[in-house]
């Protein structure tokens, strides 16, 4: 059979190629380029091989930032996912309150990220902030600008406030897609609420929860705006997560090579962990 060959088709792919090139490939290759070179200014570059990668991977500064990052990510996941599911379970499935609940839930997601940071910064200020002042009034020695534990507490609280809604909305979408017949069958089978959750709701929410966990995982690894406005990584380096550290190296110290190497490592970690998590969830699905 003769196939019609029409090379003009390539022409139609061009816009996409250009778009992807400009927004992904070229910036990424620039970073790769920086990561394997050394410069002493004046736009003169020398080949440096994997030197920067070795430096980043062996630096205790990177290890500490990564450790804080993992702690942050897993803490917020452990709080936000169960909390989100719990809230979604209490939301009405039908009736006039549904849109009200949905809008209330979506509100934190609609606020610009730097505003979230600024809001919480002021809210938590120990002398004038509503929460900061209140905590001190009732006897806590709370000062997030000086004490690392307080800074962490505020940071996690802010993230939970900001992002639990996303988990709620996704979990809710999973819940409302369960046909009524399942609940009716469970009633007839004499299932108690826990059994309904365990054998109907949770399995049916699995896909959306996988997405929710992945999104929250990636986003929390990339968290920057709110964090930089709230604590700026301080006090000291106590809340300096990977993104804050990266900006300090790249723009504060202008160490392009190490910053580029760190970006790539950072990117690969997210990619690797997401892939591992996703394939674990999906392998389970196929059984």
């Amino acid at each position: 059979m003769n196939k019609t060959v029409n090379q003009k088709a390539w022409f139609f792919v061009l816009p996409v190629v250009a778009l992807v090139a400009f927004n992904a490939i070229i910036p990424l290759m620039t970073v790769v380029n920086y990561s394997v070179q050394e410069t002493f200014g004046d736009n003169v570059f020398f080949w440096s091989g994997v030197m920067w990668f070795e430096q980043v991977l062996t630096s205790s500064r990177f290890h500490e930032a990564l450790g804080r990052q993992l702690f942050f990510t897993f803490t917020i996941l452990i709080i936000e996912v169960p909390l989100g599911v719990l809230i979604a379970l209490t939301m009405p499935r039908k009736g006039p309150w549904v849109p009200v609940c949905l809008v209330l839930m979506a509100l934190p997601l609609l606020i610009p990220w730097n505003v979230v940071g600024a809001m919480w910064n002021i809210f938590a200020l120990p002398d004038i902030g509503l929460m900061g002042r209140f905590l001190n009034e009732i006897g806590f020695d709370y000062n997030f600008t000086r004490q690392p534990e307080d800074a962490w507490f505020t940071l996690i609280l802010m993230d939970v406030w900001h992002w639990t809604s996303l988990v709620v909305l996704l979990a809710y979408a999973g819940l409302v897609s369960i046909p009524d017949a399942y609940y009716q069958a469970a009633k007839i089978d004499g299932a108690r609420p826990w059994a309904i959750f365990r054998y109907i709701q949770l399995p049916k929410m699995k896909r959306v929860l996988t997405i929710a966990i992945l999104l929250r995982f990636m986003d929390s690894f990339n968290v920057y705006t709110e964090l930089s406005v709230l604590t700026g990584g301080g006090p000291g380096n106590s809340t300096t997560l990977l993104s804050i550290d990266l900006v300090k190296i790249a723009l504060g110290q202008f160490d392009l090579g190490p910053a580029a190497a760190m970006s790539l490592i950072y990117f690969l970690i997210i990619l690797l962990l997401s892939w591992v998590f996703y394939s674990l969830m999906m392998r389970n699905e196929e059984q």
Binding site: P179, A181, Y182, Q184, A185, K187, I188, D189, G190, A191, R192, A195, Y199, I200, P203, K204, Q287
Partner: protein, 360 residues
């Protein structure tokens, strides 16, 4: 096992029903005998599923009582009524194995494991699921899943009634027949009261000993498949059951004589028609119409060959009358006349049969 009575049942989904149209179910009094196989037949939206959910306790009726074996269960929850229900779309617990699915209703009721094991294996055997017991339920085909739903209902020993809500909708056509005969076989073995909701007349007529035909929230007729065929109480039943449906032709009755146009037609119950009645129609099934030397003069408009016999469309003064002709029967091309079998030709008043001396 139980006898079920529905006494003065009415149901409306909205609050404060006023008009007739507000009622999804209009006043029902039905009795379902213990161990019977019933079908609830009617077009979509006629209230079948509502009625089913009232019996199972998923919906509380606005008015009236549901009585199982003399005990009023109107206010009881579904799992206190000991009923089982199979839904239109198969409901299985995806993460469990077939075994655990079947065991679920028993375990929820705290039955001991060795009894569970014995019941589940017996049930799997009955439903031909034994070879798949250790498989995940989510991997089964639609008919397998539907068997699991059925098994979860039957596995309990105390089941009063098993209800089916159009259970074959998502089953492949060639498996429908198999599953249907399986159901019939199961009914013979367990002798539980079964109520089968469907809008498919073949399913209803093959499954049930008695068929309840519904229309617009009302029961139009309760009867054996033969009753429904030979003596439809309402032109709707005549239309809905049978393929093609009953011929319904407007008529007039004077002095105990029915006329279509100016032709007299002999019927079973013309004598019982009250004087001054309006909205009169003659109903006769195509099976009971034949060509004759003399009778209603018609012209043949269409002949459809459907295998064992032919459907002949004829027309009398613009009114269409169908009849069935066997393969050998010659079909006159002109001067055709029709004869109706008198004992199967009846007069309906505003849709309802006119009661004759022969009794309803």
């Amino acid at each position: 096992m139980a006898k079920i009575n529905l006494n003065g049942l009415r149901h409306a989904y909205g609050a404060n029903p006023q008009a007739d149209a507000d009622w999804a179910l209009k006043r029902l009094d039905v009795e379902w005998q213990d161990g019977g196989a019933y079908a609830l037949l009617g077009p979509s939206g006629c209230g079948k599923t509502t009625l089913l959910n009232i019996i199972s306790g998923l919906i509380r009726p606005t008015e009236g009582r549901v009585v199982f074996d003399g005990e009023d269960v109107t206010d009881l929850a579904p799992d206190d009524r000991h009923i089982a229900q199979v839904f239109q779309f198969p409901v299985v617990y995806d993460t469990m194995t077939v075994y655990d699915n079947l065991a679920f209703p028993l375990r929820n009721r705290g039955v001991s494991e060795d009894v569970v094991d014995q019941r589940v294996r017996a049930m799997a055997d009955m439903l031909d699921l034994s070879s798949t017991l250790s498989r995940r339920a989510s991997g089964l085909t639609a008919d397998g899943k539907q068997k699991i739903s059925l098994g979860r209902g039957l596995v309990r020993e105390d089941v009063n009634v098993i209800m089916f809500d159009e259970p074959l909708t998502v089953i492949d056509p060639h498996l429908k027949w198999q599953l249907r005969s399986k159901l019939k076989e199961l009914h013979q073995r367990v002798r539980a009261t079964m109520i089968y909701v469907t809008h498919d007349q073949t399913e209803a007529l093959t499954f049930a000993d008695k068929v309840v035909v519904m229309k617009d929230g009302q029961v139009v007729q309760v009867g054996t498949p033969i009753d429904l065929f030979e003596r439809p109480q309402h032109t709707f039943v005549g239309h809905f059951i049978g393929s093609p449906g009953m011929n319904v032709v407007p008529c007039a009755v004077d002095n105990g004589e029915a006329r279509i146009g100016d032709r007299v037609v002999s019927t079973e119950n013309a004598g019982a028609v009250p004087t001054g009645a309006t909205g009169l129609e003659i109903g006769v099934r195509p099976e009971f119409v034949s060509f004759a030397e003399d009778g209603l003069p018609v012209s043949v408009t269409k002949v459809t060959d459907i295998g064992r016999f032919r459907i002949v469309d004829t027309s009398f003064e613009g009114r269409s009358i169908k009849l069935l002709a066997n393969e050998g029967t010659p079909i006159p091309s002109e001067n055709a006349h029709l004869a109706f079998r008198q004992d199967k030709t009846r007069i309906y008043e505003n849709g309802w049969i006119v009661a004759s001396e022969a009794g309803a």
